[in-house]
Symmetry: C2
Subunit: 374 residues, 2 copies
Amino acid sequence: MRKLSPDTPYLAIDKKLLAKNIESMAKKTSKARINLRPHVKTHKIPELAKLQLASGAVGITVATIGEAEVFAKKGIRDIFIAYPLLVSESKLKRLVKLSRKVKLTLAIDSTQGAKALAKGLAGVKVLVEIDSGHHRSGCDPKQAGEVALGAKTLGLNPVGIFTFPGHSYKPKGAKQAVADEQRALKEAATTMAKVGIEAKIISSGSTPSAGFSAESSGKSVKAKSLVNELRPGVYVFNDAQQLELGTCTVNQIALWAVATVVSVTGNRMILDSGSKTLGADRAGWATGYGRLLDFPEARIEALSEHHATAVFPKTKKARPGAKASGGKLPKIGDLVRVIPNHVCNAVNLVDQVYLVESQKVVGSWKVAARGRNS
Amino acid sequence: MRKLSPDTPYLAIDKKLLAKNIESMAKKTSKARINLRPHVKTHKIPELAKLQLASGAVGITVATIGEAEVFAKKGIRDIFIAYPLLVSESKLKRLVKLSRKVKLTLAIDSTQGAKALAKGLAGVKVLVEIDSGHHRSGCDPKQAGEVALGAKTLGLNPVGIFTFPGHSYKPKGAKQAVADEQRALKEAATTMAKVGIEAKIISSGSTPSAGFSAESSGKSVKAKSLVNELRPGVYVFNDAQQLELGTCTVNQIALWAVATVVSVTGNRMILDSGSKTLGADRAGWATGYGRLLDFPEARIEALSEHHATAVFPKTKKARPGAKASGGKLPKIGDLVRVIPNHVCNAVNLVDQVYLVESQKVVGSWKVAARGRNS
């Protein structure tokens, strides 16, 4: 692998696995008759968003105005900013400019948020964000009608509701999160109907819960689920979190960091992919700071900015160069493949990702919206 | 503050506090007759490195070849790459090129590492990295002589030893880490002397331990400490980790994120500075994912990519807009100042940082070595 490779550490995307992941989610949502509007904060790459659109996505979801600007510049014309923006004058100007070339949908979870948008964006479509149990942003589902009516009175165009069931991110959390989401969305849609506003778009989605949402919708759209739009992001690559949550298998991991083993002491190996390559994310339930793609027994027990401490089980098998389930254990100077815990933060650390076919680097993509946080 | 501010979230550096922090460390090390070679991975900004050099630093420390290339291009001529590189042909070529214009010092912790460097860098100065208790990279102090002799035989020029007492990063850990470091450095220097190689440079340093190292050196350089070079990085800005470790006071925090309050539910406020702005670092002993500069009672209890969940104590005082020790509690739409847990990772997320004087933005610096991980 070394000859054709860039200097380590770098991020590599397997083109075939990426294509499979894109297709699989497109099929799942299409079968369930749910619109797919993937969250592109995961990859921030316009070329990749176009593959998602080509496979049937109705548009894209972004988190920031900056991301929307980058994707709009690259020709994407249907963008939902799934964030309860509280816009300053400067941000409002940027949104007004965007709304002239893009079919823009915005988000509110308060009347204050709506007021700030209404100063320059009369008629713009908005979705009301509701809290379905993750307790991050989003209003109480009971208040959705009030927030929507407030927005309408101010001249905005409330067309639906959305939520992020982020509490799906724990072991066996997805099923409960989908149940919570269904209940919350139903309550919110009902309170909106009471003030005469139809929730045409009912949007949800996280990668762990997407399968469950699609399934319950597929069975009986009317009775079992109200969701008609999903916004998963991570599914294009998957990551160590999804692997440990059981949302994906190791054969669906389409992105990894390539790292060099720089130091070996006993069963401890130091890789040059630290938190400035992998990101420092570690949920309470995670078994480490990432996983080695080819060595399922190893764990990354510590992470500095430029060091990952991979620890192998203390068995005879675990000597450097010895055979293990993933082949020979790595030796100093070897390259290894590392799966980040949270791929969205890993991709946001690099200016480009490399494209791989049969473990050969065949090209690269610029992470065009990297760092566009505002 | 809003009128003169860039769109949130953004990082701001207080110029006066930065200058004070630079001066304070320069004085401390000068008094102890220790060379200061600050680690610039913290800020990655050539303009800032030049301020450090102007205040007496003997050179800079970097973590990667990419960082060295950026700082060399900006005219910095004395660079130590404090990382046990295991160079590929491509990295070797880059180092050879660098060594032609820069006084370069490299690092090894194994004979394999030395062998790879010796293929093109005969005569280059190297320091042997030793493990002083952090158990990351670095050889056993007992092996320092063997590694140094191996390097010498291969044609490299071993001139000393270095360590990173990273286990200083826990409450009350600094004093013990310095004691460990002293013991390990002494042992390593002795094993080198036995094979006829003098450890002229004895280098250590982390921000939490720097004060202790300087102190013990200052008292009696010969008897109490061997360290004659320190490489702290974080001290220029400080961060929430240093604050909670007691290494700095709140008046020495020279960098913060400026964020907007976008959503409020009871005593929970959502800020637009998530892990893509602050970094996801959280040590086991940290009380949260960062701190609010003006509200010491608040804690950031959760962090998503674009959301920080700041929780205020449930008291009457903690209502939005109510008075608190930091002044009135923030309301939706207000700007707040957030101290990242680990400033090195926060700065590495942005392309530029803004310079502030008396809370007014007066300029900006490009984070020129951002993302240069290889």
